[in-house]
């Protein structure tokens, strides 16, 4: 499986080191610089949108506290591109928000009043930062629940104010947790395609896309892809190292529940602050989409929508069936030796690399295979399904592996004592135990494949729009209303996946 994931990437490496790439450095400055600024801003937004609610929820009793524990995971249900489509549509010059302002105050032109630029790097940072803040939130909250309450109470007893306790005790104490979250945010930001594309922020992913498809310069595109890929890998490796050092221990038993009392006024203030990321990252866009969908009810039965839905089910469904099957077999049969562990870690590459990069490598691989076997691989559904499986293998395998490892070795021994074949033990004992994990793996793979945009956009067969590409075309055409039904289905599936993830954290 590692070979299946790595082959496309290796071809990219080979291409990146060949050919004429005089345009590489200017392109790198331009796109790399923008990416750097965007990552810094996004991380900044995600930090505050994640850590403040986590702090309040861990420490204080205020209205909605229990709801926010799970509710603040919801922004993850919306892919970034969906946020960008909704906000650009709503806040651009000709959109409802600015039209209303002009109506109220009798303005006519843009230069008569001040309004923020929607298609800007700042907007992209806010949307990506809030949309990805659940990573920071979830990790930080788990860490604070574990051991920060005692420390915080001690700090308060020793005379430190609440604000200073937060800055001097809580933030350093939970650093490994939020740092992990922020690194994930950074990686996802580098990998993002749909959001930056719609908001006209020229990051590396977009640079690769344009250099390849608009300039036709495959070699420079490959070299840019390698650069972006290397950065993502370094960030990932650093994150891995950080995880090992998560070393703050507390000798006291964790205190969960309860919490410090606050005044009514303060409590509602906390509730408001916690609601903010939820509103920006979930409630507002969903309400807008529902409104648009209600205005366009016939779209729910339009041929294009139904076709896209059918194709999505077919493609994501095939990827889920075969992908989960492969993940289950590997998780059950490949023993956990250090060598295998490294191999399986390597498959994470497919997931960590931006979709455009993976697509580029995959096309090269399929071209190579297709021309040597003289069959059509690019432009067929099978190629795309292969892409989904390879790209998301690490996720489905990870879920299955965690389940398999929780099964005690004595089960295998018992099977041997009874003289059963290992496969009998798989089917009769292990798979029934792994039901829950199997369901998780299926849902995660299905939802990831369903909302995947860049790979699908580049590789889909003729006559096959999926929900994501259907949405991409309409949004690009500034006609979001007609795509609202498709968007809602993606959201619904996303909510399902987030619920499963929340549940998975408990088992």
């Amino acid at each position: 499986m590692l070979g299946a994931v790595l082959a496309p990437i290796l071809l990219l490496v080979q291409l990146g080191f060949s050919g004429d790439t005089q345009l590489f450095w200017p392109a790198l400055w331009r796109y790399g610089g923008t990416t750097f600024v965007l990552v810094i801003l996004t991380v900044f937004v995600a930090f505050f949108a994640g850590i403040i609610p986590a702090f309040f929820i861990a420490m204080y009793r205020f209205p909605g506290r229990q709801f926010f524990r799970l509710g603040l995971l919801l922004p993850l249900a919306l892919p970034g591109y969906l946020l960008a489509y909704v906000y650009a549509d709503f806040f651009e010059f000709a959109g409802p928000a600015q039209s209303l302002i002009r109506d109220w105050f009798g303005y006519q032109y843009a230069d008569e009043y001040v309004f923020f630029e929607v298609r800007s790097i700042g907007m992209a940072a806010v949307l990506l930062g809030v949309g990805l803040s659940p990573y920071v939130f979830a990790f930080t909250l788990a860490s604070l629940d574990q051991h920060a309450r005692n420390a915080f109470e001690t700090a308060r007893v020793l005379g430190l104010g609440a604000g200073r306790s937060f800055v001097q005790v809580i933030i350093p104490l939970s650093r490994p947790a939020w740092a992990t979250g922020l690194l994930l945010v950074a990686m996802e930001t580098i990998a993002d395609f749909g959001t930056v594309q719609h908001l006209a922020v020229d990051t590396l992913t977009l640079g690769i896309f344009n250099t390849w498809l608009e300039r036709g310069d495959l070699a420079t595109a490959a070299r840019l892809a390698l650069f972006a890929g290397t950065v993502v890998l370094l960030v990932g490796a650093w994150e891995n190292g950080q995880r090992g050092k998560r070393g703050f221990q507390s000798s006291l038993a964790p205190k969960i529940g309860g919490g410090l009392a606050v005044t009514k006024f303060l409590g509602w203030g906390m509730c408001g602050l916690c609601a903010l990321p939820l509103i920006i990252g979930f409630a507002f866009p969903v309400v807008v989409l529902i409104t648009l969908a209600l205005q366009n009810l016939p779209q729910f039965v339009s041929e294009n929508f139904l076709n896209a839905l059918g194709n999505t089910l077919y493609l994501a469904g095939s990827a889920t069936v075969f992908g989960t099957l492969i993940a289950v077999i590997i998780a059950l049969s490949v023993p956990r030796t250090p060598f295998n562990r490294v191999l399986l870690q390597g498959t994470l590459l497919g997931y960590m690399l931006p979709g455009t990069i993976f697509a580029l490598g995959l096309m090269l691989l399929l071209k190579f295979l297709g021309s040597s076997l003289n069959i059509m691989l690019i432009g067929g559904a099978a190629g795309l399904v292969y892409g989904y499986i390879a790209r998301f293998f690490a996720l489905s395998h990870g879920v299955m592996r965690s389940g398999v490892e929780a099964i005690p070795a004595s089960i295998d021994d018992a099977g041997k004592l009874y003289g059963s074949k290992p496969t009998t033990v798989w089917f009769r004992v292990k798979l029934p135990i792994l039901r829950g994990h199997l369901l998780c793996a299926v849902i995660i793979l299905f939802v990831e494949a369903l909302k995947e945009l860049p790979l699908t956009l580049i590789m889909r067969p003729a006559g096959m729009e999926t929900l994501a590409t259907h949405l991409y075309h309409f949004a690009g055409d500034e006609n979001l209303a007609e795509a609202a039904p498709g968007a809602l289905i993606i959201v619904l599936m996303g909510v399902l996946a987030v619920s499963v993830l929340a549940w998975l954290r408990k088992i």
Partner: protein, 327 residues
């Protein structure tokens, strides 16, 4: 478990197999679905040949290059014949041998070797806000630089703008073109963004005084009750260039691909597309001028008729110029 698996395999195989029952043509289209879908449906109803389309704004030629001889594609459809020339240059196309096509489409609107043919034409024109731009004061691409108009256009590197710049370079030379780009750049009402429709909307809402966009969007928007309101304050102008040349006219068209397995069916589709009734429908739905058109409207007569190959030759220089002048 085993039954479960065999069930899924069966469903999968049936799904793969059912796609190959009827005669199918594959079209890669840079044109949007709403412009061509109904024509392909009509073709299918008449001939029984199904048309499957891959729609994309970018990358079809790159994908054809990677797919090579195994590509499923038979025909490439584009709103911009420069792209068809690019496909020809990459060795992806073959000659369309059809007397009916040669008869219908004038030589100026097809490739010298008949690798591609034009289907419709439209102008890259100016849209002015009727409240802020005096009628008759802007009739040339150069006039938009005369007073302090706020200008709008889509991103410079979009193929439409690159093509226009190539046309300017071919007509008035590089130095004058650079001066024009700098002039436009200095008068931007907002950062270049959105599609052509968004430019017309911005003029209507007063965000800009003049915008550059293609002629047919205006017609499409006026015909759609939901969008007609966005055109109330807008007039379209087919400008001259430096008083000597006409409005830059795009030729939309199609190319026959080398990878076409079913050449006969593909030629049938080409002949259908140039037939009088298809030309009429295509042009009317798109608000474009049919390539086979005999009687020209006053606006159509303003379109420049330089051969596309000349403009194509300037395209990469045009992109370089844009990259040099714009950020």
């Amino acid at each position: 478990m085993q039954r479960f698996l065999s069930y899924f395999c069966a469903v999968f195989l049936i799904g793969m197999g059912s796609a190959q029952a009827t005669e199918i043509l594959t079209v890669y289209s840079y044109r949007q679905p709403f412009l061509v879908e109904h024509l392909f449906d009509k073709f299918a109803a008449e001939t029984g040949i199904e048309v499957e389309v891959l729609y994309a704004k970018k990358g079809l030629i790159e994908r054809l290059k990677l797919e090579g001889a195994n590509s499923p594609a038979d025909i490439l459809l584009s709103s911009n014949s420069l792209r068809l020339l690019e496909a020809k240059d990459a060795g992806l196309t073959q000659a369309i041998t059809s007397a009916a096509v040669a008869e219908k489409i004038p030589t100026a609107l097809r490739d010298v070797d008949n690798h591609w043919i034009g289907l419709t034409r439209r102008g890259r024109v100016l849209y002015a806000n009727r409240n802020t731009v005096t009628e008759g004061s802007v009739t040339d691409y150069w006039d938009i630089l005369q007073s302090d108009y706020r200008l709008c256009l889509r991103p410079w590197r979009h193929a439409y703008n690159v093509s226009l710049v190539a046309y300017l370079m071919e007509s008035v030379g590089e130095a004058k073109t650079e001066e024009w780009i700098r002039g436009v750049q200095a008068r931007l009402g907002r950062k270049p963004q959105g599609n052509d429709r968004a430019q017309i909307r911005a003029v209507n809402a007063g965000e800009c005084d003049i915008a550059l966009a293609n002629s047919y969007y205006f017609g499409v928007m006026q015909a759609d009750p939901k969008q007609a309101g966005d055109t109330e304050n807008v007039v379209s102008i087919f400008p001259t260039l430096a008083q000597k040349h006409g409005t830059f006219g795009f030729v939309s068209g199609l190319a026959l691909l080398k990878s076409a397995d079913n050449r006969e069916a593909a030629i049938k589709l080409v002949e259908f597309m140039v037939s009088s009734k298809a030309q009429k429908i295509y042009a009317e739905v798109n608000h474009e001028f049919p390539a086979s058109g005999a009687d020209k409207s006053p606006d159509e007569a303003k379109l420049d008729s330089k051969p596309m190959a000349q403009i194509f030759a300037k395209r990469s220089a045009a992109l370089d110029l844009i990259n040099r002048v714009v950020d």
